[in-house]
């Protein structure tokens, strides 16, 4: 035994030594972005970007920005914002050259995308006397002019579409006005005539606002009054409760006062100035506890002319009639520097809200900005925002539109930034002159239009069990039974089974709460993935089975093949890099890695669960509210501050909190042998508060010395993970824990995601189609793309030789030889020999090849 153990440690150390190198990316918890994406890569500057995501297709985005020269910069993505393409080679629309791209534009683009698939666009025309409304029925490839409102003295349009309505609001001769139309389907033929101009009462001298449509069809607009001066000002809100009905907008309600006026200079935007930039987002998820809640984001400061501008949120549960008080401050910095140009968006599937803004907290002179974001869950009575996350890779100054030449107009960053949020990913858009992507044709002298993909980040449930919440707090949770570890209101749920372990030794208290209880092990995992229930647990018979865990989908035993198991809507299961490990992809972009290990002496399986880019914020891995010590309870109630007495902490954690998050017979996602249920695996008295940690008819495990544990865990990095590993090896005497910590560590730092997109779908027989495989690192800290090759497959068979990835982590396969019909195209990434990245396989891209459409109604016979 001793010899075997030492041999194992030696081999393990050797493996680790070869697998790890210095300079690995730091681990990131909480809200996180990926590498910045330069959408425009265009000479001169682009700023004031709007961005929108198709609410029925998470892969489709469209962005529209001001452009220094003719037209508006326009780009679209068909791979969830990884890459950006253009509707026209000029990278513009409304450019005064091609009438099919809309009447010539001045500026101020806004966007809306409804559930019929209509992409609505508004902007001011080149004469600054018309608001133009376009409609694109195909995700921003072609455009039709829907309406022109004018000629008149117009400015600041906003478009929004939902619930069978499209509304445009703008400022006309100093007064806010609006027009709305019914929408019954896709395309201009299904958009009714716009109704008569609605003058919005009480809004003379009011501007810079936003517009939202409630789930019940009510229309709400916000504007700032007065729209001039350095402040103070009020954010006024008007509601049209009957939507497209005959009643007018109601009288203005003051939602909030603000010290940031319409033309308020701050050091980071001293020439263009800022306004409060009020913005709306509705909770549109019927399952959310606050369905129909309207959130308002705006900018405020402690005093008029103060540069300490902050991002604030209030909410209304009655479509703007009354507003929450006091407001919630979103930015969590301790500085007196500026936060400005906020944008808010809600994930209509979950009710989560994202807020992004320009932030000068890291600028000693308060003159440069970085893009920051945060996310909040709707569960509690008031939203609790996660720690602010730095999203942009570079730092931008206010000189990207125009150098500060006396007498010149200079709009600097502009008046607004963009944000869209759907199905787990938020996409901010901003003007950036850092050239952090090294592809700005103007270097650092002019803004390009930048974006990023922002998610909830990393959570972990490892060892016996040490938890890292989605907002990065590390604590031990030793309850015995089955628990909800993560859930969201769009249907995602992950549950774990924790089994008690009899021990004779406790290495010491948890650093988070100082409790030194008995311990448990995570022994099974279950999940709701879209419409399917997935469980991965030991043989249901109860007989120890070292051959592996059993995977069940909707109760049926399943085996994962090379291409994985497609669960629909983006959900799938594939084998991970670790032996017996699974990668579970959820429709909302959450990725969960399940890494099992076998404990021979105890004949038990133990499991590490590591979750990436999840928008799920609730459960025992959920967000811990500010000032709290544990995640909130299922009803959103905060657990409050940590009690002083250790015994009280034990009671709160293992009775109140643990019992609240236990599954029951109705909510359990596990599969059970006949005659068993979740109660079979529940031991409410566990963990015992103090040793002896005994269980009936179970021989306690023998511990290992600290020296042995340190050797076994010598290559496990990170303060928490290393100490967790040492703890687990010591308490269990099982160095195999180090093995799965190693797998989890490498998955967290080096795992990848591969996606495949096509340049058009459907295509015609004989037509050339380009498939692009993109490999991205899951760890946000990786700033260079994975290297290696990808092997494309069609309908499960390899096509051609492996193709080398370019510097962007992309490989292209072009073919014109696909037969008519539907094909499943996928790509498998194989890392380069000297690459630290891990292999991954894409989901299958469904591509349809049609016969020539010119004959017989589209099908050649």
């Amino acid at each position: 035994m001793t010899c075997k153990f030492h041999r194992f440690v030696f081999l393990q150390a050797a493996i680790f030594a070869t697998m790890f190198s210095l300079g690995r990316p730091a681990l990131h918890a909480q809200v996180a972005g990926e590498v910045d994406r330069n959408m425009s890569k265009m000479a001169n500057y682009q700023n004031e970007c709007a961005i929108i995501k198709n609410p029925t297709n998470k892969l489709q985005l469209f962005s529209l920005c001001n452009n220094a020269t003719g037209g508006l910069f326009a780009s679209r993505s068909v791979d969830g914002g990884l890459t950006w393409i253009y509707p026209d080679p000029s990278k513009t629309i409304a450019n005064g050259i091609n009438a099919a791209l809309g009447p010539a534009a001045c500026c101020d683009p806004t966007l809306a995308w409804d559930t019929f698939g209509n992409l609505f666009i508004t902007y001011i025309d080149s004469g600054v006397s018309n608001i133009v409304a376009l409609l694109s029925p195909d995700g921003g490839q072609t455009f039709a002019t829907l309406a022109q409102f004018g000629p008149a003295s117009v400015d600041q349009p906003t478009v929004t579409a939902d619930s069978g309505e499209v509304w445009v609001v703008w400022n006309q001769s100093g007064q806010m006005v609006a027009r709305g139309a019914a929408v019954t389907g896709l395309g201009t033929a299904n958009v009714g005539a716009f109704g008569a101009l609605q003058t919005i009462p009480g809004t003379s001298g009011c501007s810079f606002g936003d517009l939202a449509i409630a789930p019940n069809g009510a229309v709400v607009q916000a504007c700032e009054s007065p729209n001039s001066g350095v402040g103070p000002a009020n954010i006024l809100v008007n509601t049209k409760a009957d939507g497209l009905g005959p009643n007018p907008f109601a009288a203005a309600v003051t939602a909030t006062a603000t010290n940031v006026g319409g033309f308020a200079p701050i050091p980071a935007q001293s020439r263009r100035t800022i306004d409060a930039e009020a913005g709306f987002a509705y909770d549109r998820n019927a399952a959310s506890p606050h369905f129909g809640r309207l959130y308002l984001v705006y900018t405020d400061s402690p005093a008029v002319s103060s540069a300490d501008t902050n991002i604030m949120v209030r909410f209304s549960d009655n479509d703007g009639a009354t507003w929450s008080n006091p407001p919630i401050r979103v930015n969590d910095d301790a500085t007196t520097r500026s936060q400005f140009l906020p944008r808010i968006a809600s994930n209509r599937l979950s009710g989560n809200i994202a807020v992004c803004w320009h932030d000068a907290r890291n600028s000693a002179s308060n003159t440069t900005m970085q893009e920051f974001c945060t996310i909040a869950t709707p569960t509690g009575a008031t939203p609790t925002f996660m720690a602010n996350a730095l999203i942009s890779d570079g730092t931008s100054d206010g000189n990207g539109s125009n150098p500060p030449v006396a007498g010149q107009a200079d709009i600097q960053f502009g008046d607004y930034s963009g944000l869209t949020y759907f199905q787990g990913l938020a996409h901010p858009a901003w003007a950036d002159d850092s050239n952090s992507t090294s592809d700005n044709p103007d270097g650092t002298s002019r803004y390009d239009a930048y974006t990023d993909r922002v998610t909830g980040g990393v959570a972990a449930h490892e060892g016996d069990p040490h938890l890292t919440t989605v907002n990065g707090v590390h604590y031990d949770f030793q309850g015995a039974g089955e628990f909800v570890v993560l859930r969201d209101y769009d249907g995602l749920q992950i549950q774990t089974r924790q089994s008690p372990i009899a021990t004779t030794f406790n290495p010491g208290p948890d650093a988070h709460d100082e409790l030194a209880t008995c311990v448990s092990l995570n022994t099974a995992v279950a999940a709701q993935v879209g419409e399917h229930q997935v469980s991965y647990e030991p043989n249901l018979s109860g007989v120890p089975d070292p051959s592996g865990l059993q995977l069940r989908i909707d109760g049926s035993l399943s085996t994962v093949g090379p291409q994985g198991i497609d669960l629909g809507d983006g959900g799938r299961i594939v084998k991970s890099w670790a032996p017996g490990g699974l990668e579970i992809d959820f429709p909302d972009e959450t990725v969960a890695f399940v890494t099992p290990g076998w404990w021979p002496s105890q004949s038990k399986w133990f499991i590490n669960l590591d979750v990436f880019q999840t928008p799920a914020l609730e459960g025992v891995l959920g967000v811990i509210p500010a000032g709290g010590w544990l995640p909130s309870l299922p009803d959103g109630t905060a657990m409050g501050p940590m009690p002083g007495p250790l015994h009280q902490r034990y009671i709160e954690l293992y009775q109140k909190f643990a019992d609240a998050w236990r599954v029951n017979d109705k909510t359990s996602l596990f599969d059970y042998a006949p005659g068993t249920s979740t109660e079979t695996f529940t031991l409410r008295s566990w963990p015992l508060e103090k040793p002896p940690c005994v269980l009936p008819r179970v021989k306690p495990v023998e511990p290992a010395t600290q020296a042995v544990a340190e050797r076994a865990c010598s290559q496990i990095r990170g303060k928490n993970r290393h100490s967790d590993c040492v703890f687990d090896v010591m308490v269990s005497g099982n160095p195999g824990f180090a093995h799965i910590y190693h797998f989890s560590q490498q998955i967290e730092t080096d795992s990848t995601t591969t996606t495949v997109t096509d340049d058009e779908d459907p295509s015609q027989v004989g037509e050339s189609v380009t498939f692009t495989a993109t490999v991205t690192a899951n760890a946000v800290a990786h700033k260079r793309a994975p290297s290696g090759t990808v092997q494309f497959t069609v309908d499960g068979s390899k096509v051609g030789e492996p193709i080398k990835l370019d510097a962007k982590g992309q490989a292209i396969w072009e073919t014109s030889r696909l037969h008519a019909g539907k094909h499943l195209v996928a790509a498998s990434y194989k890392p380069a020999d000297d690459s630290e990245f891990l292999a991954s396989t894409s989901a299958e891209d469904v591509h349809t090849v049609k016969r020539c459409p010119c004959e017989h109604g589209g099908e050649r016979r």
């Binding site: 001045c106 400015d155 020439r271």
Partner: protein
Amino acid sequence: MRNKWAIRGFIGCLALLLDVFPALAGDSLYGKVTEVKSADTVVLDYGKGQYIVHIIGIDALKEGPLANQAREFVAKLVLGKHARMRLGSRAENGEMFGQLFTDDPENGIKDVGLELVRSGLVQRQKGQDFQFGYKYGELSTAERQARAAKRGLWAPTQPQ
């Protein structure tokens, strides 16, 4: 006067060298013009206060008969009338740079800067083909029209 044009021309060339293309977009502010200080500078009373507004995109003479004509041209369009400023940017002293539009029943909506260039009473800023709000060369077109019609600055003989 020639020196002033030369200086402005130099600034324009410098701006061109710097690849200066002033920005787009704008925030409209409405009010009454209470004073026309010069052809390119007015006082806009917006009810809650006043802004000194410099019309962007043009180079106006500061003295001489044409300067007076230009000032009177602007006064006729906007003095004592409702008007709109589209903010370009703000100077450190709080003065504004932007487009100025008429917004009254008599004149309707006219871009004062563009009308000035078209009248030949001012020049467009050199090197600024893509001006704030004029990114389709509107100012150049207006100046060509003025030159062709030999108006104002482009007339064969200048008023003494």
